[in-house]
Structure formats: C-alpha cells, structure tokens
Symmetry: C2
DNA sequence: CGGACCATTGATAATTGTCAAAATTCGTGG
DNA sequence: CCACGAATTTTGACAATTATCAATGGTCCG
C-alpha cells in the first residue's frame, strides 16, 4: 500500500484506479477528473445518504464498506446492497433532479470520492467509454438484484443462507487449504435484513449448520467453512 | 392508428418512436437506424428468449406484452418484469458475450424490433445521448427492482397485492369516474409468481378483497376497483 | 471488570404453502 | 349462439415454515 504518500494527486489517483468505470481513461484524462473530485470520510455507523434526500452527487467508495437499504413505515429494513471499494451510487438520479431511493450507512469507517452530478454528466458526454462502463456495471448490478429477487421470492431460507455465504466468501473470504474463512460484513440482524427473514431465524439456521459441521463460528463476525462444496449443495438444493 | 400504412419505413418509424431511448434523435439519425432494424413477431405463449441462451441482439418491444422470469431447478418461476410497448431487453449483455439471465415469454402476440449487439454498440458510441437515455432507463428499472425486493422481503402479502394493483392500474388501467378498470396482464398464477407467493394465496386474497368491496372481478383478466384510495391504504398499511 | 450490545434458544402463534376437489371461465367447433 | 371440454380458478382442510415474544447467554470495548 502506498497510502502513505499524502500528496493530493497520489491519493486521488488511488481512488480513481479503484473504480472500474474510470479504468478505460488514460493519464491525461484522469488528471482532468482528479481536479473535480471531492473526498469525504465517514465513521462506522454514520449515515452517508438518507432515503428521500435530494441527490446532488455521485459517490464512489474508495475504502471501507457500507449497506444500502430501504425502510418501511413500520420500521423494517431491507438491505439492497453491500457496497465496498470501487462501488458507486447516486447514478440513478443522474438526469432528473430526483431523490435518493435508499439510505446508505457505513458498516466500517468509509472513505469516498464525490463528483457533482453536473460534472459526472459532462464526463459521460466527453468520454463515451465511461457511459459504456456504467451501462456494464449497472447491468451487472441488475443481474445481482434479479437473482436476489428470485432468491427471496421462490427459494427457501436454507437456499438463501447458502447463497449469501457463497457471495460473502467470494467478496470477503480467505482460502486456507480447503477451509474458507469469511469476515462477515453484516451482523446477524444485517444478514436477516438482507435475506428478508427474522433475526432469530438466521441464528437458528446458523446453529443448525454448525451442528451439522457445515460452518464453524469463530466470532460473531467471522466464520470458517470447511467445505464450500457442501454450502453450494445447500444453496442450490 | 396508422398501422395500415404498410411501407417498411412507416412501420419501422412507428417502432422507433415508441422507444424512449431513441427519442432524442432527429429524422436523419433515425433513418440510419431504421435500416439496421430487424422486425420479428411472436404468438402468445411463445418464448422470445431462453435463460442461458447466448445473446446476440437487443430486443425492443413494439407491440404486445411479455413476461421476463427465472426458473429454479425445482420448477418454480419468479417473474422479474412485465414488459410492454417501448421496453427493451438484452442490453445487460451488451459488452461481454454473455448469456441471458432470464427467459422472456409473450403474454399476448408480440412484435419486436431487433438490433444486433454490434450495431447497438456502434449506436451508443455515435450518439452519446442514447447512452444517457439507457442509463436513465436502467436506473428506473433498478429502482423498480429495488422496490420489488423490499416488497417481497419485508412486506406482507396484502401490501404486495395492493402494490401490484397500483402498478397495473397505472400501466393498464382505464379510469371511469371514480372507478378504475384494470386489464390484468397476468393470470392468477402469474401474479403469484410475480409476488413470490402461492397461486392459491392470490385467489384467497382476491376473494377476501372482493367480499370487502375493494375489488370487483369482471372476468379472470379484468377487475374493477371502485376506490383506488383504499387499495393504496392496503399497499402502504 | 462492567455494562451495553448482540446473539441464541425456547415456546407459541400466525401466516402461508400444499394437496385435493369442486366450481368457474374460456375458447373452439358445431 | 350455444355447448362442450380443457384450462384456470376457487375453496377447504391440513401441514410446514417462519415470525414473534420473552428470557438467557455471550461478546466486545472502554
């Protein structure tokens, strides 16, 4: 890590390179963008964006992770995304002056790069490649949402737990021989709100899986999976 | 309707104008595109796209309606979208040679305009406005998906039934004084597969609502709603 | 070490799914 | 236009799953 170099350019470039949507740009083009970027940071638990707020910028996460969620009137939370380094949000409201359709809260300390909506729009018109990257990225995110919708809609809780473990293993897992150690980004309640079930149900399913030797709880936020294959069986029946 | 004019240009132009993503183009630009377009038609019940098939084109619906859905291994169907005139699909696989993530089936006779992926890509590079329109449209579709995910995740069946009635009223409803008549695009089973519940549950909820005077079933595919306000109360508690 | 927060477990209730049968609707052909 | 058969929908009885409520136990961090 060269995070130590504290000159503004270095820091911003780092940020830029973490973001797939800018990956097609060359040095010179990046320099132009770097000047426009505003950096912000948030503490764990802090709300980065409130559902309903007017959006004036696109936010790119350059460090840490955050959850995007919606609340119902009776206080129930549905988590839509777990964002981490390189993910962005605010693009949905790019061309109308609309309001945020979900809230975003830092799950750990978070650093962001912000571009005003206008600047982002100009960027797209200047560099069609960026538009293509965005369409690409949105397409991927839609596919993930579609899968999530199918999961919650027709698959049973065991399937869904299996799927979320696979997802987290991919994003946050460390392989160690045949073992996989996952640092969970969400609490049990968070997982429940991601899967659309009750907190207690997640606890029960985890306990059950631990009894069957499928997982091993190291701490509240860390689990060990001896055999991912068995988890895949559960996920897809 | 001027559908009677059968010259190719007229027909294709009609198609073009129904598609929001091309709305920013002028006559001359449209003419270029018209030459590239291939028209197809499908009968009710026919499958337009199979999940898993290799995608080679973007399909724009110029008439009729279709459902997009995913199947699980044990044969359960989750409907993701109900497409109608002006909607398009296939854009997700625009820049990798990926496969379709869902199937699409005609709910009535359907007419489509097709553009090969390559042509569509060139179009985007030639007219950045189209890219912007697509990002816009994808953003809207994502918002819809996010709402659907929240619905299935944390809202009860009554809420969801209310929401789907509001959605259908907006898209397929005809106002007649204080009454709203909705021509349902989906069967009961379809509605169930859209909401992530059992067919029988939808039947029961509809019956219950009919007893309470909230809806009036005219035929299997047509219902009358005396007071949309009451439906909104149910949808949002 | 203590207190706040988070997670687990048990008992019970509520909701929805499943299976089976009856009723209705739809479309076709006479 | 009516009648018939097929398809769809409705209803009932029951089972399964998960939510809810309440209490206990564990973990993390100053």
């Amino acid at each position: 890590m060269t995070e130590n170099c504290s000159c503004t350019n270095c820091k911003d470039q780092l940020c830029m390179h973490k973001v797939p949507i800018f990956s097609s740009l060359d040095r010179e083009q990046l320099d132009k963008i770097i000047e426009l970027i505003q950096r912000r940071s948030y503490e764990k638990g802090e709300t980065i964006l409130f559902e309903g707020d007017l959006m004036d910028s696109v936010t790119i996460i350059s460090g840490g992770s955050a959850k995007a969620y919606k609340n119902t009137s009776n206080g129930r939370e549905q988590i839509l995304y777990v964002f981490s380094e390189g993910d962005f949000f605010g693009e949905q409201n790019l061309f109308g002056d609309e309001t945020a359709t979900y809230s975003v809260e830092a799950l750990e300390d978070v650093k962001t790069c912000n571009l005003s909506r206008k600047q982002f729009q100009q960027l797209i018109y200047s560099f069609p490649h960026i538009a293509v990257k965005i369409i690409d990225e949105l397409g991927e995110r839609m596919t993930r949402l579609e899968n999530a919708l199918q999961s919650i809609g027709v698959r049973n809780v065991d399937n869904r737990i299996g799927s979320i473990l696979i997802e987290f293993a991919r994003k946050y897992g460390i392989r160690d021989g045949s073992n996989t150690i996952i640092h969970l980004p969400l609490s049990r309640e968070g997982i429940a709100n991601y899967l659309g079930v009750a907190r207690e149900t997640v606890s029960r399913k985890f306990s059950q899986m631990e009894n069957e030797g499928l997982i091993l709880s190291i701490s509240n936020k860390e689990i060990l999976i001896p055999d991912m294959g068995k988890i895949e069986d559960i996920a897809f029946n």
